[in-house]
């Protein structure tokens, strides 16, 4: 990770980086500023062109952990992976985790992240007992569902704009150990996906599907459905060190041809169909965390991720339309994820998760053709009444954003006058 660069490695901006080392110190008297955690959001929600980035990984201290109640309090720069290292041996796990554990707690709050258990657990904010918010005025607000509740709601999913999240209190969940048991099965089309999701969501903590975005015709919408529960199991955890993607190739090897080949192989591999599988939590929940800096794979121009949510009723028509568009463009990549969200309303004013089905996939940045394709996908999302995830976005139009997140006008009242981000200026026209 390099401070000041987001996970999609595009766009790149000049920013002044100011490291935070103590949660007791006031914010610097400079602006506009924005807190930068571990750089796992993809686009520009974590960037602040021409402004100040407060690098928060230095705020990585635990404050307390009660192994009886599972309540953890820590500084906002602590990574979920560090929390797991502390609490899993004691039988506790983060209640909600995104597809990488290398995110900070502050980032998880500011983007109200979700995971493979959204249908049961909701998003990160649902388990947030409280947090402290430091404002540029010097004021420190204690926020909880019943204390400064409006600030609590504005800050969850508030894209880091309401001030600096200093510390957070989180309710962890009990787990029997490091293992996850479940199964994996192929599905031939989207109807089968929806049927599997409907049938699995009540009995499984985690459900997620991988989709073959290169498939067309009769194979359109085929993929692999995985589901699992935490499981009591005695075995040695998998060994092996993390690997680091050593350099950025001058030309990305992710091309139409390699994507078709990979997707076909992935779909047809024997492990796609497993009646009784036991996974270690790391490969199940964080398949890419062992490959450090994998985002370099997309070459020097970086990549986009497009993640949208579509209301269930509209999704049956909109999803195939999107998949046809993507397959025809030959721009999609390997990492395509489909997930049924639950009904639980999110707590944040600007939270992304909402009832419906969410689709996420990567696109190597090929400039204008890629931007045009993403804009066409946005047209479908808008028409369907869906939304695009700001944490993954680097290009949605102000018009799209304001339609997806009508509460943005309310958030304005809570934004710290000294805080801003490249994303926010882009989608609100600088207001």
């Amino acid at each position: 990770m390099s401070t000041g660069v987001s996970w999609g490695r595009w766009p790149r901006y000049e920013q002044r980086i100011s490291p935070l080392t103590s949660r007791f110190e006031p914010l610097p008297k400079a602006g506009p500023m924005l807190v930068f955690g571990n750089g796992r959001s993809y686009g520009d929600v974590c960037l602040n062109a021409g402004g100040v980035l407060l690098a928060a990984r230095g705020l990585d201290r635990f404050i307390s952990f009660d192994a009886t109640s599972g309540v953890l309090e820590c500084e906002a720069g602590v990574l979920l992976s560090e929390i797991i290292g502390l609490t899993l041996p004691l039988g506790w796990f983060p209640p909600v985790t995104p597809g990488t554990a290398l995110v900070t707690v502050g980032g998880a709050i500011a983007n109200d992240v979700h995971g493979k258990n959204h249908h049961r657990a909701g998003s990160f904010g649902h388990h947030l007992l409280g947090f402290t918010l430091r404002r540029s005025s010097g004021e420190v607000l204690q926020c909880a569902p019943d204390e400064h509740a409006d600030w609590y709601a504005a800050t969850i999913g508030g894209l880091g704009l309401t001030g600096m999240i200093c510390t957070a209190r989180l309710q962890m969940r009990r787990v029997p150990g490091e293992w996850i048991g479940g199964d994996s099965q192929r599905f031939g089309n989207l109807e089968e996906f929806f049927a599997l999701a409907a049938q699995s969501d009540a009995a499984y903590e985690y459900t997620v599907a991988w989709l073959d975005c290169a498939a067309t015709g009769g194979k359109l919408g085929r993929g692999v459905f995985m589901r699992g529960n935490h499981l009591q199991h005695e075995a040695a955890p998998p060994r092996g060190r993390s690997l680091r993607f050593p350099l950025t190739p001058p030309v990305s090897p992710v091309t139409g041809l390699s994507v078709r080949a990979f997707n076909s192989l992935y779909f047809n591999r024997p492990a796609a169909q497993q009646a009784h599988a036991i996974w270690h939590y790391q490969p199940f929940l964080y398949p890419l965390d062992r490959l450090l800096d994998w985002n370099r794979l997309y070459g020097p121009r970086g990549f986009f991720q497009y993640q949208c949510v579509l209301p269930n009723a509209a999704a049956t028509a909109a999803l195939p339309e999107m998949l046809r568009l993507i397959a025809r463009s030959r721009q999609g990549s390997f990492l395509v994820v489909l997930k049924q969200f639950g009904e639980q309303p999110s707590r944040g004013l600007l939270s992304f998760p909402r009832p419906g089905v969410t689709l996420a996939l990567d696109f190597p940045n090929r400039g204008e053709p890629t931007l045009q394709l993403l804009e066409m996908l946005d047209a479908i999302t808008r028409e369907a009444g869906g939304a695009v995830y700001p944490a993954k976005d680097a290009r949605m139009s102000a018009q799209s954003f304001q339609q997806y997140f009508p509460a943005w006008t309310q958030l304005k009242d809570y934004i710290d006058p000294m805080f801003s981000s490249s994303f926010w200026r882009r989608v609100t026209g600088g207001s």
Binding site: T3, P19, T21, S22, F24, R57, G58, I63, S64, L86
Partner: protein, 245 residues
């Protein structure tokens, strides 16, 4: 379980080392100037597994208070097995060149205060017949260079002092470890462009803990600073004086 005193406990390297001590259940006494930050670090180390964490506000420049600090730390931990001296400042060379006061302040904090603490610790450990004194010096003390020779001079004093102390205490069962880190990417240097020579505090701390446990006399951390500094020391003065280091 070890009972360890850490001076300059809010520094990035000391905090990283303290986390490793905490993870194995050691008992710690943390000393530094800022008591609010000390409390924050103490809570963190308790969560990470330290069997006991005590703190004391301490300004290393006040040498007179060194015996009192040692006394308190020994009492609270019920004895002392090791000490890590990690406080210091990165001197502003330009300011030291034009002000005798600034130069003396830097020498005071980076050399004399360390030697004062070492003197007290040495006598206590000598009397009890065991103990480890680990002191963070620097590769900068291996040869004076125009870019930071005031800091380098102070660290050279620490290196020479600990070398002598090591000889004196060797027969008494007390070990002295001189630690010479190179470039360390602390939060203070987050904005610098970093090359391959930069190491994380976590890596440096792991090597420090290894040296304290393993009985090493002089630790260059990371290891490649040993050959680098050997070369720098070997350059003839006639050539060295023309270089811009």
């Amino acid at each position: 379980m070890q009972r360890i005193l850490i001076i300059g406990a809010t520094s990035a390297i000391a905090e990283a080392a303290a986390r490793l001590f905490a993870g194995r259940g050691d008992a710690l006494f943390l000393a530094a100037r800022n008591s609010e930050r000390l409390q924050g670090i103490a809570a963190d180390l308790s969560v990470r597994g330290a069997s006991l964490v005590e703190t004391g506000e301490f300004d290393a420049r006040a040498y007179d208070s060194a015996p009192a600090l040692l006394h308190t730390a020994t009492e609270r931990l019920g004895g002392l097995d090791a000490a890590l001296i990690a406080h210091g400042t990165l001197s502003d060379q330009a300011a030291c060149q034009v002000s005798i006061d600034r130069m003396r302040e830097e020498f005071d904090i980076n050399a004399l205060s360390v030697m004062a603490l070492c003197t007290e610790l040495a006598n206590q450990f000598e009397a009890q017949g065991h103990g480890v004194i680990a002191v963070i010096s620097s590769v900068a003390g291996d040869r004076g260079r125009q870019s930071n020779y005031v800091y380098g001079t102070a660290k050279a004093a620490v290196t020479a002092f600990t070398s002598g102390l090591r000889q004196r205490l060797y027969p008494k069962g007390v070990r002295v470890v001189t630690i010479k880190p190179g470039f360390v990417s602390t939060p203070m240097t987050a904005a610098f462009k970093k090359g391959a020579l930069w190491a994380t505090p976590a890596r440096v701390a792991a090597e420090i803990v290894g040296a304290i446990d393993g009985g090493k006399a002089v630790l260059y951390t990371p290891w490649f600073w040993r050959p680098i500094m050997w070369i720098i020391r070997s350059v003839p003065e006639n050539v060295f004086r023309r270089l811009r280091l």
